[in-house]
């Protein structure tokens, strides 16, 4: 691969700092749109939880707390390895960058594996919204609404993770080929911002789906 510093500055920018500022600005604007996209779903969830609190509590207690909590810790750890990858990129340590990026990918894959097991488990217990949905009587279909939001929001989150894994893979390849250096590592930093955002979304998803009715036990 060619010298990263030589090809780093695109023609439309006056200097590297301006380029980096534009990239970071653009990424945060994108993240702001993502905040609003998930935000509408969180708001809708909030309204229904306000109206059907009992059903939401009962449904939430059907979530596997251990898996949910562990998965939260797993994803937070992937954010740590991602931050360390960005740190290594800033220092020009390409080998460390590759290692930390691959670690992030492995941990992220573990998270997805647990999620898909949970999905399968819910399916087995007839907790997937639709014709075959079964739940304790007395909640008038509002428990099904909880699971609808669960699958929609964690599913959308999982799609973001899968896309992130793809980007991480390309990034690791780039680092392996020497595309980054201490003076040019913007792609690594921007990917870090994206990954941390996906982690923040899960930080809010966890208590709102797994911890609603625990005080009832």
């Amino acid at each position: 691969m060619t010298n990263p510093d030589a090809m780093a500055l695109r023609f439309q920018f006056e200097n590297a700092e301006q380029q980096e500022r534009a990239a970071t600005f653009g990424m945060w604007i994108f993240l702001a749109t993502e905040v609003l996209m998930f935000g509408t779903l969180f708001t809708a969830y909030g309204i229904y939880r306000l109206w059907y609190g009992d059903a939401f509590m009962a449904a939430s207690n059907h979530m596997d707390l251990l898996l949910g909590g562990l998965n939260t810790a797993v994803l937070l750890t992937s954010s740590l390895t991602m931050a360390l990858a960005v740190d290594a990129a800033r220092k020009g340590k390409n080998t460390s960058v590759v290692i930390f990026l691959i670690a992030t990918m492995l941990i992220g894959t573990l998270f997805l594996g647990v999620k898909f097991y949970e999905y399968w488990d819910h399916w087995q217990k007839a907790e997937f919204p639709g014709r075959g949905f079964r739940f304790e009587p007395g909640y008038s279909g509002h428990a099904e609404l909880f699971f609808f939001f669960y699958f929609l929001m964690t599913g959308l989150h999982a799609v973001h993770m899968i896309i992130g894994l793809g980007i991480l893979g390309l990034l690791a390849l780039g680092a392996r080929l020497g595309s980054f250096s201490a003076t040019y590592n913007t792609p690594v930093e921007m990917t870090g911002l994206y990954w941390h955002f996906v982690d923040i979304v899960w930080v809010f998803l966890y208590p709102l789906f797994y911890l609603v009715g625990r005080h009832l036990h």
């Binding site: 500022r21 600005f25 702001a32 905040v35 306000l50 909590g69 954010s79 923040i200």
Partner: protein, 96 residues
């Protein structure tokens, strides 16, 4: 203009704090706080998000224009939540 970023040790400490907060939010969920449960859960999540934004995403060390973009996202989210909840919560408030 590159400001110095946190050291790996700082990242590790923040990660540990995030795990502690995760345990805290889980433990508090078992206490019956009535309508405060949601507020506490959201508050702890906001603390975790704050740690991630400040230390992992370097928001306080970045260009000024970037902070404007980040804050604007938050502001519009708050408008979304406030107006939507304001609508639904105030229905059927009219005197009968």
């Amino acid at each position: 203009m590159r400001t110095p970023s946190p050291t790996p040790l700082v990242y590790g400490v923040i990660w540990f704090c995030l795990l502690i907060l995760t345990g805290l939010t889980t433990a508090v969920a078992f206490a019956d706080l009535g309508s405060f449960s949601v507020a506490v859960a959201i508050a702890i999540s906001c603390m975790k998000a704050g740690l991630i934004v400040v230390f992992f995403m370097h928001l306080l060390r970045t260009f000024n224009i970037v902070r404007i973009a980040a804050v604007s996202g938050l502001v519009w989210l708050l408008i979304l939540i406030a107006l939507t909840f304001g609508d639904y919560v105030t229905r059927n408030w009219a005197a009968k």
